[in-house]
Subunit: 321 residues, 2 copies
């Protein structure tokens, strides 16, 4: 059936070629070959206009980010991405919008050699659900439930940039280009995640904010942590903010899509070697402990409970699983 909304075929058929795609877009379902000895890794996330991105966001950025947030979930498992499907709900079939959306999607997909293998297009309020699939060697995936007391707690890159940009946008302030880039075109830490397989005990991507996501790891692992707030990695742009505001962005701001992970003492040497070749800073921000809960320890010896999240303007009423 050819129709106005026959979009997946028209705008989304220039996928990368992969030998493991037996059948992509165009049949009832895709047919894929998972390499022998590998486990399948599957993540799904929806981005909704007015909730996960402003209504007037550039189509390129929406296409990019819808894939990025899913690749970030695969990165947090240490998986190698392979395939994606796209369920796109659109108020109208605007060719310019679609071309830009597809460009954003494909720019990131091509960078990670991800093939688009299926999809569904529907008319309705703008909403993008992407599912990505990848693989990881059997029993090697990074999970949330394997952190142990004594493990070092680390985070990649810098924290709070995306939340800072979002706050500035919402207040009508000028936003530094590098902060806006963090919000609109997050870089999933795929190669870092792969490098952490066999080294990190647990990992998660920072999508809901450091404290929330660290909390997921601690709950799943049945332990607690001491966090060193003064060591949270901070971009030059974020250094400009008043201390309290910066810290709120770093504690509670989501959308950074950095990896938060734990490394046991026996893998410190490997971690040091990884730091030599990894372009991103990998910063030790605390330590896993047996005692439940999170304690914030400052340079002057002061220990505080982490601040409660105030009104959550980032994402107040949803959860991802």
């Amino acid at each position: 059936m050819t129709s106005e909304f026959d979009l997946i075929e028209r705008y989304f058929s220039r996928s990368v070629t992969r030998d493991d795609v037996v059948l992509g877009v165009g049949d009832d379902a895709a047919l894929l070959n998972v390499p022998a000895g590998q486990q399948l890794v599957v993540a799904v996330d929806t981005l909704l206009a007015g909730r996960h991105f402003p209504d007037d966001s550039a189509a390129f950025d929406i296409g990019w980010k819808a894939l990025a947030v899913n690749l970030s979930d695969l990165a947090a498992m240490g998986a190698t991405p392979a395939w994606a499907t796209l369920a796109l709900t659109l108020p109208a079939a605007d060719p310019d919008w679609l071309r830009e959306f597809a460009e954003g999607f494909y720019q990131l997909a091509d960078a990670h050699q991800v093939a688009l293998v299926g999809g569904d297009t529907t008319r309705g309020p703008l909403s993008v659900t992407v599912q990505v699939q990848g693989h990881v060697a059997g029993a090697k995936a990074l999970r949330r439930d394997a952190a142990a007391p004594g493990d070092a707690l680390l985070v990649s890159g810098s924290l709070g940039d995306a939340a800072c940009a979002l706050g500035q946008l919402q207040r009508g302030e000028t936003v530094a280009a590098e902060l806006l880039q963090r919000l609109n075109r997050p870089q999933p830490r795929v190669s870092l995640g792969q490098a952490l397989v066999g080294m990190a005990t647990a990992a998660i991507d920072v999508s809901d904010g450091l404290l929330a996501d660290l909390g997921h790891v601690l709950a799943a692992s049945g332990c607690g942590a001491t966090l060193w707030p003064e060591r949270l990695p901070t971009s030059a742009a974020l250094q400009q903010l008043p201390y309290e505001q910066r810290l709120a962005c770093q504690y509670h701001g989501g959308d950074d899509y950095e990896l938060c992970f734990t490394v046991p003492a026996e893998h410190y040497a490997e971690l040091q070697a990884l730091r030599q070749r990894e372009p991103l800073p990998l910063t030790e921000i605390g330590v896993i402990e047996a005692e439940p809960g999170v304690r914030c320890q400052f340079g002057d010896g002061r220990i505080e409970r982490p601040p409660q999240r105030g009104f959550d303007h980032f994402r107040e009423d949803e959860a991802r699983a």
Copy 2:
């Protein structure tokens, strides 16, 4: 993060247990074991309120149908379903609605031993995107592109029931219970699809209407067909309709989710054996030919072109891939 919308955990964690689910809901991604020698089969479909079901549809039926339409895609590949993810966008977190939705989803999932392994919940206009994954023996999947001249053309069950029910609903007429059941709780023909592996050359599920879906098979296979309209399998309820109206439902009505498939002469004996044990009627409705296009041949020898689709009140502006 626990919140009003922490729904996937609360309402959707009573999944069937499968040995091949290493990690289900609750981490960044699911971890799954695809059996050795099997290809992964992936389908995704979105159901949107007011488009794919009336706004006042029962939550149970929405949950059922969102999974059913995807299982139907897997059935059309001859695949064995295994896992599903659910991306649910909801205007509000109504516990009664959610319980019923989950019941509908799980009733069908349990019947096919499908485990829910991941999801995402968002606040917004009601929309349900389900992705299902299954597997099929390597190179054995039923595709659209392998029909050949001389193959018999068959369809399972009866055609036009769901479209008839939808039309009656839209006109405010009384709808027979058995027709309503076809519209609201379609039965994906999963075991039939599996039985057709190695026997059928091509298969598709009838979701967009017989002529549209047959058209997909013919286009992909590079051939045409003669169709025998008088032999289209017709339920007792549909027999009540005036001839033209019934035929329009059967030609163009979607949502039946029957399988349309082609069988070469060398597999007729197997087809006969299958008919003995398959509870659904499997009706020969035409023959595949080298000449492109579809010809409708009647008992009196008359041959006509199939009628053009009029205004498509079933699904006028979308396509699935």
